[in-house]
Symmetry: C2
Subunit: 166 residues, 2 copies
DNA sequence: TATTGTTATACTCTATAACTATA
DNA sequence: TATAGTTATAGAGTATAACAATA
């Protein structure tokens, strides 16, 4: 997951004006968005490695976890919470259904909608993968103290929680 | 850029067991990766809005900025620094060339490579867009103090700088 | 008239294979 | 034999339009 330049130029040019050997990236490195994106990419890279045995991407784990923690959640609610467009959820839900992890039941008060529920197998897999994610979170932030980790999350929330002061 | 659920269910179900109205997302919200990704998406959203007049995406600004700050940088160095695969850089470089923002010159010591340089027009546009980005960075983090902003960047770097302790 | 879930489709982003010219 | 730059292309991710059933 290293993003460092791994092929520096061997022979520097004679005068030192052309062809830089070490790249000045200070401006981008001073931006919150740049650093947040790189941190997210780094953590997600580890996530994908450890989740490969379960056939889960980040979004799959997120969907299964939200269904497990919110029995009866609708597709529209998943869509809003995870910022996934409804058409792009259809395939994921169908795949989890065919894997026997979740099931649909009629919504009690809205016949257009359907409640989503984990099956016992889905419940087990969710608990297992949640433990994996908790462990990887711990590993990914092992250079941070518990206080620093809490501070980091709090500061990140301050950045993206602008209109929704909940 | 709000990611909050904007269509809560109107009538709660009779027994309160089915069809949750408020979604429990506490597990995902406790993960650094989740929060870093949302912060990055929020900042990038504002970035795209303000850069639209210039026809720049994040990657276009990054490329032009690195060339301006590192005259003679090669395509391969851009590729490594920004984690963009070489084939995906070709079109961007060509487009900036046809916009008259950058130019290629022979590399002084390696005839396979080409040094990239900003033109005067490219230099002007880089300075202008860099000022826009600096302003948006300030706006995006206006809920943070200067100390908090520096702390945030430092903590993010601790997360993604694992092997490259530069 | 608006919303849920869905199909079909387009667009963007990212990744892989293979080629040339040079090292 | 390896690297810089390039072409062509494949795949994943994300977005829009439109529809039937229901509110």
């Amino acid at each position: 997951m290293s993003l460092a330049p791994d092929h520096p130029i061997a022979s520097p040019p004679p005068d030192g004006v052309e062809a830089p050997t070490v790249i000045d990236n200070t401006f981008l490195e001073g931006l919150v968005g740049y650093n947040a994106r790189r941190a997210a990419i780094a953590v997600i890279g580890v996530f994908l490695e450890r989740m490969a045995p379960y056939g889960f991407r980040v979004v799959d784990f997120s969907v299964l976890t939200l269904i497990a923690h919110n029995p009866g959640i609708t597709s529209r609610q998943l869509s809003s919470t995870l910022s996934i467009l409804p058409p792009n959820l259809v395939g994921m839900v169908r795949q989890m259904q065919s894997r026997g992890l979740i099931e649909k039941r009629p919504h009690p008060s809205d016949r257009r909608a359907q409640g989503l529920y984990v099956t016992p197998a889905g419940q087990r897999l969710q608990a297992e993968t949640q433990a994996v994610v908790a462990a990887l979170e711990s590993d990914a932030t092992d250079r941070l103290t518990e206080v620093e980790r809490a501070t980091l999350i709090q500061l990140l929330r301050k950045v993206y929680e602008r209109d929704e002061p909940a």
